[in-house]
Subunit: 210 residues, 2 copies
């Protein structure tokens, strides 16, 4: 399948290097807000990459919180990504908003968050998602004809009038970044790239060649 | 910034495990075709992850060819991703089509393709992209006020009536996969996942728990 001629000449926006934030989190919040305001699809989704045996692995994850020092997502602590992180907590995050021709690339280290924060988020999820978290033994091989629906109906019945407690093997990670790059697509592939690196307690800024 | 309540309940499609391809490339071509037919944004974009010093790094890249055994993309051979690959050629690819609630996760090894294939693809690119490839010293630090446009105009003048030859430091990689997972979002986070693993000369299929 030949895709030679599929490309877009990016023209929508640019980075104004004369007016940039000292703190990349403020810049990130500006961009993700723009993604929400412009009705980008899944604006808080990102590709999380981890390492297993010197091989990278990537999957889409949803960002659930950004605070002054990190990016928070939730998962099953028995999932492959969690197992990878427990051995090597270096991860990368890639946010891509094709509607805005924008990309944010993050490198950092992931840490388990406090149980009470995970409890609080779990309690806020829709009941169906909570039941899904209980039902799935993440990434285990299962039969092709395995029927989640009948099990889901049983669980729905069981928990009809009851709150569901967070399973102990389910919770959050926070990624504390050391590098954050902002990428804005530009005409002729001469894209704008602004890199923040955390060095000696502060964020150093530089512009990169496309 | 709290994103607790941003989620979609995926309902658009499912994987019919009773009717699946033996060859994951056929399945991949079906899905990427569907992405083109449904006018997904940047349907041939994917997140490429490489490893540097035991840390993953990710960026968006465009797929330019798929054949019977691999996925082809082009880049500057002096780029960070190329340097990473020359030291450790294990990479992952993540295709995400949120419009279809579909994701394909690939793990494989990347190899430089033949120069004549890169020549052919370079020759097929728009002149502006060719000039962009000449102009960019990929990922090098540059001044905030560096002016690509004046240089682009000079080059446009220089090459007005001339073909542009592929720079020797620009060309393709093919990723030969060992694992390809097809992910279809499903209600209650109980997603469909079908994994192909290449073992002893053939593709082994299994279903994974969400």
């Amino acid at each position: 399948m030949d895709l030679k001629n599929t490309r877009i000449n990016y023209t929508k926006n640019e980075i104004n290097y004369n007016d940039i934030y000292d703190n990349p989190f403020e810049f990130f919040v500006e961009w993700i807000n723009e993604a929400f305001l412009n009705n980008c699809l899944e604006p808080n989704s990102f590709v999380l990459s981890t390492i297993e045996d010197n091989i990278p692995t990537s999957r889409v994850v949803l960002l659930k919180n950004i605070d002054h020092d990190g990016f928070v997502f939730y998962t099953n602590y028995d999932s492959s990504k969690s197992k990878h992180i427990l051995i090597n907590n270096n991860v990368s995050l890639n946010f891509f908003w094709p509607e805005l021709e924008k990309q944010v690339r993050v490198i950092g280290a992931a840490y388990k968050i406090n149980d009470n924060v995970s409890d609080e988020y779990f309690a806020s999820r829709p009941k169906e998602s909570q039941l899904g978290a209980i039902l799935s033994e993440q990434s285990k091989k299962i039969d092709f004809n395995y029927d989640f629906n009948s099990k889901l109906i049983m669980l729905q019945e069981k928990y009809k009038n009851k709150d569901i407690k967070r399973p102990l093997n389910w919770g959050g990670f926070k990624v504390i970044p050391t590098k954050i790059e902002f990428w804005q697509g530009r005409p002729s592939r001469l894209h704008d790239r602004l890199l923040y690196k955390f060095k000696e307690g502060k964020w150093d800024k530089s512009r990169l060649s496309p």
